[in-house]
């Protein structure tokens, strides 16, 4: 095994021992007993590019996305493709999508995007679609079937009839704990499309689904929630090997429900606290999740970051690049049948997270 830079050696650096990255690729395959080709892709999410006025944008959010793009471009050899997980803009403005899109244009490799609510509720995804294409679609890559969903839709009444202006609609959906908000959903039309799409795929084929909101119910007040999550999950459960990767929550989360593994990705903009630290309402953060370390607010990039996703025999390993903090690796453990943190899963070696909101 040569020690020349593979993406694995580059990305493993800084993370301490014990990760699969230090193993020769052939051994990784043996360990998983699979025959499919392993590959990696880059996942950047939740940039929240925000216009102040004219050509002036919030510097902090700009710096987060620029840094993720610059670092993702250093991976050698290049990742197979890049995903952007939604919320490129803060208030869905053309200027914000253009500015963010310009930064994303510096990425090497094919870019695919997921729709976030901050991209959507100003013009209902019209300009976003002109820049980035369809809002839901599927593709195949090296033996894995990928599905991209727009999971941040809601009722027609809320979307089309409740608000006097597009600006107000956007602002209402952008708020947390806002009684005027509305729960996200994939919706009948898209679920029918999903069923149709999946009907053509063998149940042995590994499936990776990208959504912006979690396709599981964690905390409704912040829309860490998809209202028809159970119905979407029911379409995915027949597959033996399913992974859902979502943004929106700006924090490390992972879970296992039946055959479905869940991984959340980081924002490049800011971290959210864990909703179970918010005392005024109950939340259901997956018990499996080892929370992020407490962030030092002096470092405005702390608790933000991006990730490299390794796909080994169709199973996901999320390598979190956490700026000014410890890198984390969450990988599906075939013996346990669920994702685990490669270093901090045992309670005794965890670092203290933020305990209060």
């Amino acid at each position: 095994m040569t020690r020349l830079i593979t993406r694995r050696s580059v990305i493993a650096a800084g993370a301490t021992a014990g990760t699969l990255t230090t193993l020769p690729i052939s051994m990784v395959r043996l360990a998983f007993g699979g025959t499919r080709e392993d590959f990696s892709f880059t996942y950047i999410s939740d940039a929240h590019i925000q216009q102040i006025k004219g050509a002036s944008f919030v510097r902090n959010w700009d710096m987060g996305l620029k840094r993720a793009v610059a670092e993702a471009n250093l991976i050698t050899p290049e990742a197979d493709f890049v995903m952007f997980g939604g919320d490129l803009a803060q208030l869905g403005k053309k200027e914000e999508l253009d500015h963010g899109g310009e930064m994303l244009s510096h990425l090497k490799g094919k870019l695919r995007c997921v729709m976030g609510e901050h991209d959507y509720y100003f013009d209902l995804g019209d300009y976003w679609s002109k820049l980035f294409g369809p809002q839901w679609y599927s593709f195949d890559h090296k033996g894995v079937h990928f599905v991209v969903l727009n999971s941040i839709l809601t009722t027609d009444e809320w979307t089309f009839h409740r608000w006097p202006t597009a600006e107000q609609r956007m602002l209402e959906m952008a708020g947390l704990d806002n009684p005027n908000g509305s729960p996200f959903m994939v919706g009948d039309k898209q679920r029918a499309w999903l069923k149709d799409d999946l009907d053509k795929v063998s149940k042995d084929t590994p499936l990776i689904v990208f959504s912006h909101s979690p396709l599981q119910k964690i905390y409704k007040g912040w829309n860490f929630w998809t209202d028809d999550a159970e119905q979407v999950q029911a379409l995915l459960q027949p597959f033996k090997n399913v992974s859902v990767i979502y943004g929106h929550v700006h924090q490390i989360q992972y879970n296992q429900i039946g055959n479905i593994s869940f991984n959340a990705v980081m924002a490049t903009a800011w971290p959210w606290p864990y909703p179970d630290t918010y005392a005024q309402a109950g939340a259901h953060v997956p018990v499996l999740t080892v929370p992020m370390n407490r962030a030092d607010p002096f470092f405005e990039r702390d608790a933000t970051g991006w990730q490299m996703i390794d796909v080994n025999s169709g199973r996901v390993t999320a390598r979190y690049q956490l700026w000014d903090n410890q890198e984390r690796v969450v990988a599906y453990d075939p013996k346990l049948g669920k994702p685990v943190d490669k270093k901090y899963q045992e309670a005794i070696i965890r670092k203290a997270p933020q305990q209060h909101y």
Binding site: R3, S9, G14, R59, F298, E300
Partner: protein
């Protein structure tokens, strides 16, 4: 509390201090720390002794440990220049060869948890061996010439016998490194006007302008988060590494090529020490060269600010001439007038525009000028 003045300018004065310490009944080899500093950390396998310190002092000043007999540790860490080579931008080695980095002071280096600007060395002991064999510093092919001298020169034979009870082939680089490190652990200094004001309670020790500067230092200017001041002591460092936009701004477009080429060379066995001092562009990769971590591209160690007014020019590359230039660099969010636009994308999240006015910048500089210890007020660095 009585404090022993910290004067370490020569073997003589060191020994004087030792005798003074002994007279005062200080336990073992331990002087009281100057105001503002904690106890010097000493590794268990290299306890301080007067004999070892004296030997280290001699080794530190011996120019024979270089290829042309002109460069000692003290050439770039000159006692008379607050243990730097100010006002040089980057250090000069044998035959006037230059490296890529500004000589950091040895004063209070004993408190760092890693050595060199990129922390590539874990201890003073380890650090001391590298410049001797770096091609642009002391230039020896290996450490054999050093060992030959210390095993044969009668003064050293005597010194190593006294310090370690060893002679002949039993004297190795291990003893040489330990002696130099022991000497460096005596080069500490606090007792600055700031210390007298902040820790000593002397209200008149610093000016009103410097006090305004201190308020900025711990407030709007955001200095204290990395250049740490604590309740009872001030090391002015967090011992971490940060990309503050120095050097890296200029080469940011080259980072993908440089990072890939560097990692490839490193994997093939290239020395980090030699590579980073030989190539000015690779040098700017900073801590990344040591850890391969993207998070540390262009990141360098937070240095102490003690005696900072005496150690111009500033930053790892000596690129900023005055303290005012330094404060302005931070004020612009990690950018200097000579840098291209925009700031590099790998910038630390701690660095952002500060919106300081001219008067505030001057106040901050006035505060930084209160950090000079009595021993270095007269340093010949201007």
């Amino acid at each position: 509390m009585a404090r022993i003045p910290n004067v370490q300018k020569s073997v003589g004065s060191t020994l004087l201090a030792l005798q003074l310490a002994a007279l005062l009944g200080v336990c073992g080899w331990a002087t009281a720390e100057p105001l503002g500093l904690p106890k010097v950390p000493v590794p268990a396998d290299n306890p301080q002794s007067p004999e070892k310190v004296a030997l280290g002092d001699k080794l530190f000043h011996d120019a024979r440990f270089s290829i042309d007999g002109t460069v000692s540790c003290a050439t770039c860490h000159n006692d008379k220049k607050a243990f730097t080579d100010s006002p040089l931008r980057v250090s000069e080695g044998h035959h006037k060869l230059t490296g890529t980095r500004n000589a950091p002071t040895v004063v209070n280096a004993a408190y760092y948890t890693s050595q060199f600007w990129d922390g590539r060395s874990p201890s003073l002991e380890d650090q001391s061996q590298h410049p001797m064999v770096n091609p642009v510093e002391m230039g020896l092919p290996d450490h054999e010439p050093v060992l030959k001298i210390v095993r044969e020169d009668p003064a050293y034979v005597d010194g190593f016998k006294k310090a370690f009870g060893k002679s002949g082939r039993d004297v190795t680089m291990d003893e040489v490194k330990k002696a130099i490190a022991s000497f460096e652990r005596t080069v500490i200094s606090g007792d600055s006007p700031f210390d007298k004001w902040y820790f000593g309670g002397d209200r008149n020790a610093i000016s009103d302008q410097a006090k305004r500067g201190f308020d900025l230092y711990v407030g709007q200017a955001r200095c204290v988060s990395c250049h740490v001041i604590e309740q009872t002591q001030a090391l002015f460092t967090d011992n971490r590494f940060h990309n503050i936009g120095v050097g890296i701004n200029r080469i940011q477009d080259d980072v993908p090529r440089l990072a890939a080429a560097f990692l490839k060379a490193k994997a093939a066995g290239a020395s980090v020490d030699k590579t980073v001092l030989a190539d000015p562009k690779v040098s700017e990769l900073g801590r990344f060269a040591v850890t391969d971590s993207f998070d540390e591209i262009g990141a360098f160690k937070t240095t102490t600010l003690r005696n900072i007014a005496m150690t111009a020019p500033y930053m790892h590359d000596g690129s900023l001439k005055t303290l005012k230039d330094v404060v302005k660099h931070y004020n612009e969010g990690g950018k200097s007038p000579a840098d291209p636009w925009p700031v590099n994308p790998y910038l630390s999240g701690g660095i952002r525009p500060l919106d300081l006015k001219d008067q505030q910048i001057d106040d901050l500089v006035a505060f930084l000028e209160t950090l000079t210890s009595p021993a270095y007020v007269a340093a010949q660095t201007k």
